[in-house]
């Protein structure tokens, strides 16, 4: 199990004077794709710099790919590929030479680096554009070039900082597909920092949520989403009676007008809803599974659960009242 972890930290703390940027982080990141989530100022950048071995920790310890972040920074950076969020390309250089140079900076032989640059640019979809100056590239092409720079030495772990930042829909889809392909067919691991929850959902199996330098939550996205699964119904006639009937049977109901969301806690929740509707004579004109988006859950965790929660198991075990994700205040939603 320990061998499957690509990043592990124990009480990792980083302070800048009185300001605590990271506070006692205990993380275990398994192989595969992991999303690093958190609002601005959550400590994502500090965390990335720490695991890259670029800044000294104030307290605690950590390993990346089994290497100590305090003493093996150089070796860690040789074995990972980092794709920065911001521009990191020389606009006056051709992409092929920029990628080749990024390989040479890792210690690759120039001839091999050039051959590999061709391969990686082909992989990220810039095969035909590789002799163009980067300055003439679109944002999507620049992002793809940055990814090629990160992939040139076939790293075990790719750290992608906001990989789809500023991309249009098609470029974003392509970037996300490329990262997914890298994880699935390339068998590489990805740590992806992003504000776009949809992207994280599409690429990652796991997530880490940071808030104010602390670990707010970590676990599998699947588990996280499972905890808030609800059934949404559109009721015509007798909505209030139906709400009361369902509440009497112990179901958790949120309602706005004729739309109700019932927590899907048991296997027979659907039939219970239908039987309640039959009892009170209410029409259910539409019924479907409502899956909260990761963004809803993110807000829910930030607003309702705070950062005491450490794993998705904890999230699953939290009281129902705390799971009111997006219900308006008058419905009892918001802060629990």
């Amino acid at each position: 199990m320990q061998d499957d972890l690509i990043i592990k930290t124990t009480n990792l703390t980083k302070s800048y004077g009185p300001h605590v940027a990271l506070s006692k982080l205990n993380l275990s990141v398994p192989k595969g794709a992991t999303g690093l989530l958190g609002p601005n100022g959550a400590g994502k950048s500090t965390f990335l710099k720490t695991i890259l071995g670029l800044i000294q920790t104030t307290e605690g310890e950590g390993t990346v790919l089994g290497l100590d972040i305090r003493t093996k920074g150089d070796e860690i950076r040789s074995r990972i590929g980092y794709m920065p969020e911001y521009d990191s390309l020389n606009p006056e250089m051709e992409a092929i030479h920029q990628v080749r140079y990024s390989g040479e900076l890792l210690g690759m032989n120039p001839t091999i680096a050039l051959a590999r640059a061709h391969e990686t640019l082909q992989y990220v979809g810039l095969g035909e554009q590789r002799y163009r100056n980067i300055g003439s590239y679109s944002t999507g092409m620049k992002q793809a070039t940055k990814l090629a720079c990160a992939l040139i030495h076939d790293p075990e772990l790719i750290i992608a900082d906001e990989p789809s930042n500023g991309l249009d829909i098609s470029a974003r889809d392509y970037m996300i597909d490329t990262l997914t392909n890298t994880v699935q067919s390339g068998n590489r691991s990805v740590l992806m920092a992003s504000h776009l929850m949809d992207d994280v959902e599409r690429v990652c199996d796991n997530f880490i949520l940071l808030h104010k330098g602390k670990l707010a939550a970590q676990g599998r996205i699947e588990d996280l989403k499972a905890f808030d699964r609800e059934i949404e119904i559109h009721v015509w006639g007798g909505a209030s009676r139906l709400e009361d009937a369902m509440a009497k049977k112990g179901m958790s109901v949120r309602r706005e007008g004729r739309v109700m969301r019932i927590l899907h806690e048991q296997e027979d929740t659907t039939s219970l809803i239908l039987s309640c509707a039959a009892e009170v004579g209410a029409q259910i004109r539409r019924m479907h599974e409502y899956e909260a988006s990761l963004e809803d859950l993110f807000l829910s965790i930030m607003e309702n659960l705070g950062y005491e929660v450490k794993s998705s198991e904890d999230l699953l075990g939290t009281p129902v009242q705390a799971r009111k994700v997006d219900a308006p205040g008058h419905m009892g939603g918001g802060s629990a």
């Binding site: 950048s45 990335l48 710099k49 890259l52 670029l54 920074g73 150089d74 070796e75 950076r77 040789s78 980092y82 920065p84 969020e85 911001y86 521009d87 990191s88 390309l89 020389n90 606009p91 006056e92 250089m93 051709e94 030479h97 080749r100 140079y101 990024s102 040479e104 900076l105 890792l106 210690g107 690759m108 032989n109 120039p110 091999i112 590999r116 391969e119 992989y123 979809g125 095969g127 720079c149 040139i152 030495h153 076939d154 900082d161 597909d177 490329t178 392909n181 890298t182 067919s185 390339g186 590489r188």
Partner: protein, 345 residues
């Protein structure tokens, strides 16, 4: 008529060798039947395939990464080869042209030595041939070399070397890899210094060896003049180091090419002019200690052994001033490079 009887003539009419009649033309144009015909006879094209233009396939790489020296060599190579060919650091065309002009202009004494040797004119040789003063002038003469050539070359070279990494965020490319700040700044420093060395030291060496070759100098002359040559080389190294350290420190505090270049020229030429004015108006040479060029010239005069032009203080003060200037410049450089970010610049 039976259905079978209707179908058979129709198939014959649509056959390739069938004559084009009015009825067939009507059928082909409007398809005026009920639409129940067997269309298999009209299928002529091959089944369509979606095809595959691009297949994204991840290719692993199992090679080994070379150690630190190879990474440093990559930085050096990137900057140096950029002067001569594409695919490396893109030095602008005006910069490359200016380097060429300065290189050719710096060879003026070489050319005149060759000419004087060729025509055997001793008057011409006494002006242009290798001597203590001419060796000094090749490196430290103010006009035109330290007014138009070397400071401008230094300004053009250091202008973007570090500041462009801040501007384009390319510092992340270095520091997210196993490149230390020391290696980063060290290799950039050596790259810029080597390009200046090509202009100053290589032309100096050519000058010295042109004298030996054209005038047929023997060992006695070489033994006599070689210490002067070495002292000039040392002066040139001091000049290159000083201009580079001040220039790179200015580059490290900026995000553009313009400021470091202009600031370097202002420091070198501005302090020189200011000290010159004060010395002439008030007969006080002390401000020359603030001028990098004058300090270099003073130290150069002392070690090469030419007639000193600074009378009011010892050359060791100029050396101390140079040490202090370089110390401050390197401190600023190291501090600024240490603060360069990987995640955000």
């Amino acid at each position: 008529m039976t259905t079978q009887e209707e179908t058979l003539p129709q198939q014959v009419e649509f056959a390739a060798e069938a004559p084009v009649t009015g009825k067939v033309r009507l059928e082909a144009a409007w398809g005026s039947t009920e639409g129940d015909e067997d269309l298999s006879v009209t299928m002529s094209s091959a089944p369509k395939s979606d095809g595959q233009i691009f297949k994204q396939q991840y290719k692993p790489w199992n090679g080994e990464l070379n150690p630190r020296w190879m990474r440093n060599w990559a930085i050096l190579r990137h900057h140096l080869l950029g002067v001569f060919k594409k695919g490396h650091r893109p030095w602008g065309v005006p910069i490359r042209l200016y380097l060429l002009v300065v290189f050719v202009a710096s060879l003026s004494d070489v050319g005149m030595t060759l000419v004087s040797g060729l025509i055997g004119d001793s008057g011409l040789h006494s002006v242009w041939g290798v001597s203590r003063d001419n060796l000094y002038a090749h490196v430290l003469g103010f006009f035109p070399r330290n007014m138009l050539y070397y400071p401008v070359v230094a300004a053009l070279l250091v202008g973007g070397v570090i500041s462009e990494d801040r501007q384009h965020g390319t510092s992340a490319l270095y520091f997210s890899r196993p490149i230390t700040r020391f290696d980063y700044v060290g290799m950039k420093f050596i790259s810029v210094a080597m390009i200046q060395g090509l202009l100053i030291l290589v032309t100096l060496a050519l000058y010295y060896f042109a004298e030996i070759a054209t005038m047929g100098r023997g060992w006695a002359w070489i033994i006599d003049t070689f210490p002067m040559f070495l002292a000039t080389v040392f002066s040139a190294l001091l000049l290159i180091f000083t201009y580079t350290s001040i220039g790179l420190s200015l580059s490290s505090v900026s995000k553009g090419k313009f400021f470091p270049g202009i600031a370097l020229l202002s420091i070198i030429l501005g302090t020189k002019v200011l000290a010159f004015i004060v010395a002439n108006l008030f007969d006080r040479e002390i401000l020359y200690l603030l001028s990098p060029y004058d300090c270099l010239a003073h130290v150069g005069q002392a070690i090469i052994g030419t007639q000193p032009t600074y009378d009011q203080y010892s050359w060791t003060w100029s050396l101390a001033s140079l040490v202090a200037m370089n110390g401050v410049a390197l401190y600023v450089l190291s501090t600024r490079v240490s603060s360069m970010e990987v995640t955000r610049e």
